[in-house]
């Protein structure tokens, strides 16, 4: 395996394994480091463990064994309260957007602040004025300030994903986990969403871990790519290094390149 770059490692995944209750091995001994500010693409077939890997990092999925250390903090050993404080610094963007359909766009974006506000106040839907202003600012940033008071399910797919990005930005994240963020969108929308992630990565120096299906997106946006096959790390390097032989190793002998 390739060693990390010369910069100090910010996120370090060590011997991570996950076996689900039914006995399905989703991850087997995965180790890699991600330096601060890197745009890392995670590629692999459906079911290769990409989603599980991303969800282990913010403990939506409990790893079976191994360690995830971020900024010197062992995420895997964090208590419940510590986990919440770690999660609020990690924004997450989902393939199916995962917005609350019947809530307004603004409420969906404000939900990104739930890790910071005092639970008792948020239960009665009270957010500090600064948070509401910030939510409008983030909606402005993703280009849909006029949709703030629309119901989330009235928006198109691309707009919904922008709300998803705005929700992640509300967290003032130091890391963004994007799980197939553009797999449900057409190519034009895909690029616009990817450009927002790129912008956040460049401007705010936020580390982005993004699982992707299309290699041209990987080439276009990622600093580095890792590949999973049946839960094992099979590639770690620059996107340009994925040649024909490596492609076959990642996607299987029968695979054809489509993009």
């Amino acid at each position: 395996m390739r060693a990390g770059t010369s910069e100090p490692a910010m996120l370090s995944i060590r011997h991570l394994s996950k076996t689900y209750e039914g006995g399905v091995r989703a991850l087997t001994d995965v180790s890699f480091d991600v330096p601060d500010g890197q745009f890392l693409a995670i590629i692999g077939l459906s079911g290769s463990g990409k989603s599980t890997l991303l969800r282990c990092i913010n403990r939506l999925v409990e790893p079976t064994s191994g360690q995830i250390v971020w900024d010197g903090v062992d995420i895997t050993a964090a208590s419940r309260d510590e986990t919440r404080r770690i999660r609020r610094q990690i924004g997450m963007v989902f393939q199916h957007f995962n917005l609350v359909h019947r809530s307004s766009v603004l409420t969906n974006v404000l939900a990104g602040r739930l890790g910071y506000v005092t639970p008792a106040w948020s239960l009665v839907n009270h957010f500090p004025k600064a948070d509401v202003a910030k939510a409008m600012h983030e909606l402005n940033r993703v280009g849909i300030p006029d949709k703030a008071h629309s119901r989330a399910d009235e928006l198109s797919g691309g707009q919904q994903q922008r709300v998803g990005v705005a929700r992640a930005l509300m967290q003032d994240p130091r890391m963004i986990l994007a799980d197939e963020p553009v797999a449900s969108l057409d190519p034009v929308l895909a690029h616009s969403i990817m450009q927002y992630l790129e912008l956040i990565n460049r401007e705010d120096n936020v580390m982005v871990l993004c699982s992707l299906h299309f290699l041209d997106l990987v080439h276009r946006y990622a600093d580095r790519a890792i590949a999973l096959n049946e839960g094992r790390l099979v590639f770690d390097g620059a996107p340009q290094e994925i040649d024909h032989a490596r492609f076959k190793a990642i996607y299987g002998q029968d695979a054809e390149r489509v993009g």
Binding site: R87, F94, V100, R102, A111, R113, S122
Partner: protein, 616 residues
């Protein structure tokens, strides 16, 4: 598919055998069915013999006619009579026959007879269709009804009457009388009673639905598998919580008693009550704002957090005191208003009752609240302590705690049984339950293992489900019998029984709805660092609102139906009136109530369908 001859040759006998077997099975099934239904007929006494008997049919017709004429309006009545003389027995010389004069008129054929003889009474000149009775009037003037008549289209009738058994030398009278309605119709007493009771019924249903829904909503989250399955912990942690709950409840009882006593000290004057209540609530609001800043980006120091916890504790005590005082004030103001308002006195009474209920709820909330706080504190303490133990000590630690928790539960159960059966033997009420509980706790702790994946959430889920299922199995008609013993026969008993059943029914339906929601938003909100409660408010609640509203409407509809019959078992409402009238044979009165029920249920049906259509 084509078959070779060989194949079909092999299969033919086996197929015949199979069809024979199938025929046999059918025959046995049919015979069994006949047996079951024959026995069923015997047990349920299915018999048309009774139904065919003429006296029963006559009674049925009478009741049906009464039902067709609900007792709702009445008129002033005017009686018209016609009379003629009769002799029993016939005198030696019968006075000359005077042809009847005027209309209507009555004549007898013959005009005298032996005691007990049947004679014919003939009427003429009555209004066509007039209904009335023919009476025999002895010298004492008391009317003895002999027959009913109905005049034909010419205003004539002819009925057979029986002469009295007792002979009398005096002239006696036969009289035909009918009533005629005059003037404008007016509502009967029964109509007013029916109106009162149907209003009572609708409100019983409304209150039962409201109270039941308020409890069912939080319960439904505990009974939803998808929300509960991820809550796990160590056996020791669960044991600590189990042990802390009764201790906390006891503490809470003391706290609420102190608060009630403390508030009693200042409630001598309403003015002082108002001042103290508002002052303490204002202090609470300020404290809360300090102790719970609306947003924090960094973790505060331990000292500040400790200070906040103390402040919150003091604030909740003050809040309890203030709320109790406010409730008392409400009762006081309500009572005053009830005296002042006259016709609208029920508003004052409502306020007073609400204050009373609030005080009751506050007492219960204090007990529950302190129990939860103590339990969660000890749970947190356990969670902090356990990782510091050497790994080899963790299992003994878990097992000790689970054995202790089992013993505590056993003791509680023992105390309950001792109270219920009035036992005094310490071995039975204390030693045995504690020992058995400890052993069971130890065994369960042993089975659960050492990890922190003990499914606490699923335990709570299964407990809630069980309670809901048991509660749902008891029909409200049966519940109301027990409740009526406690609060007395009347609508309040009905409200409580309906509430209880609504909790069970809606709790299950609600939780099933929660189990069908999309998990994506839950995951997304959890990923922002939200607590479980925040996740429920922001990701679960918006998804379930339409179905919850629709189900509640539906339940209201059902509760209206139930509340119409719950009076049969002592629950008040229109059913009470209906059962009384039916038992007394006042079928015309009962008919009015049946009509009212049909109208209200149909109206509710349309209303709830309409509102549900709006909600979704």
């Amino acid at each position: 598919m084509a078959k070779t001859p060989n194949e079909s040759g092999d299969r033919a006998p086996s197929r015949r055998l199979a069809s024979l077997g199938r025929g046999l099975i059918y025959a046995v099934a049919v015979a069994g069915g006949i047996l079951i239904y024959a026995y069923g007929f015997q047990v349920t006494q299915v018999s048309l013999e009774e139904a065919r008997s003429p006296s029963r049919q006559e009674r049925l017709v009478r009741i049906l006619r009464a039902l067709a004429e609900p007792d709702l309006v009445e008129y002033d009545e005017q009686e018209t009579t016609a009379e003629t003389s009769v002799w029993v027995p016939c005198p030696k010389t019968l006075p000359a026959f005077e042809p009847p004069s005027g209309t209507p008129s009555l004549s007898l054929e013959p005009r005298c007879g032996a005691p007990g003889e049947r004679i014919t009474a003939v009427g003429n000149g009555f209004p066509p269709g007039a209904d009335g009775r023919v009476y025999f009037v002895p010298p004492n003037g008391i009317r003895l009804s002999q027959a009913e008549f109905r005049a034909d289209t010419d205003g004539a009738f002819s009925v057979s009457i029986q002469l009295p058994e007792r002979a009398s030398p005096e002239v006696q009278t036969v009289l035909a009388a009918f009533q005629r309605n005059v003037g404008a119709p007016r509502l009967t007493r029964n109509a007013y009673d029916t109106w009162d009771k149907i209003v009572e019924t609708v409100f019983m249903a409304l209150l039962g639905t409201t109270f039941g829904t308020m409890v069912a909503v939080p319960l439904s989250f505990l009974a939803a598998r998808n929300l509960m399955k991820d809550i796990t912990g160590t056996v020791g942690g669960l044991a600590l919580i189990v042990m802390a709950l009764p201790v906390g409840a006891l503490l809470g009882a003391i706290v609420s008693r102190v608060a009630l006593a403390g508030s009693a000290a200042v409630t001598s004057s309403p003015f002082a009550t108002a001042v103290v209540a508002s002052a303490s609530l204002a202090v609470v609001a300020r404290t809360l704002r300090w102790a719970m800043p609306s947003e924090e980006t960094s973790t505060p120091s331990l000292r500040i957090r400790a200070a906040r916890i103390v402040a919150l504790l003091v604030a909740s005590l003050l809040g309890l005191l203030g709320s109790v005082l406010a409730a008392r004030l409400m009762s006081y103001v309500g009572d005053q208003l009830a005296e002042l308002l006259g016709l609208a006195a029920f508003i004052g009474t409502f306020l007073a009752d609400l204050g009373d209920v609030l005080e009751l709820i506050l007492g219960a909330a204090a007990v529950g609240g302190v129990a939860v706080v103590v339990a969660s504190l000890s749970g947190t303490l356990g969670a902090r302590l356990r990782p510091r133990l050497p790994p080899s000590a963790r299992r003994p630690y878990d097992l000790t705690l689970s054995a202790l928790a089992g013993a505590v539960l056993g003791l509680l159960l023992g105390a309950f049984l001792a109270w219920l059966y009035r036992l005094v033997d310490v071995r039975v009420t204390v030693v045995a339950p504690a020992a058995v509980g400890a052993v069971v706790g130890l065994l369960l702790g042993w089975r659960a293992g050492t990890g922190d994946t003990f499914p606490i959430g699923l335990v709570v889920y299964n407990l809630t489900r069980t309670v809901l299922n048991v509660l749902r199995a008891v029909e409200p008609l049966i519940m109301v019998i027990v409740v009526a013993v406690w609060v007395g026969i009347g609508p309040f008993a009905g409200v409580l029984a309906l509430s209880l059943h609504t909790v069970a029914a809606l709790g299950k339906l609600f939780s099933e709805d929660v189990e069908t929601i999309q998990s994506g938003p839950l995951e997304a909100v959890t990923a922002t660092g939200a607590t479980r409660l925040q996740m429920i408010v922001y990701a679960v609640v918006p998804q379930i609102v339409p179905t919850y509203v629709s189900l509640t409407m539906y339940r209201w509809d059902i509760n209206v139906r139930l509340s119409t019959i719950i009076g049969f078992a002592g629950g008040g409402g229109i059913g009470f009136l209906l059962s009384q009238n039916a038992n007394l044979g006042n079928y015309r009165a009962a008919s009015a109530q049946i009509l009212a029920i049909a109208l209200v249920v149909t109206a509710m049906d349309y209303l709830s369908t309409y509102l549900r259509g709006k909600a979704v």
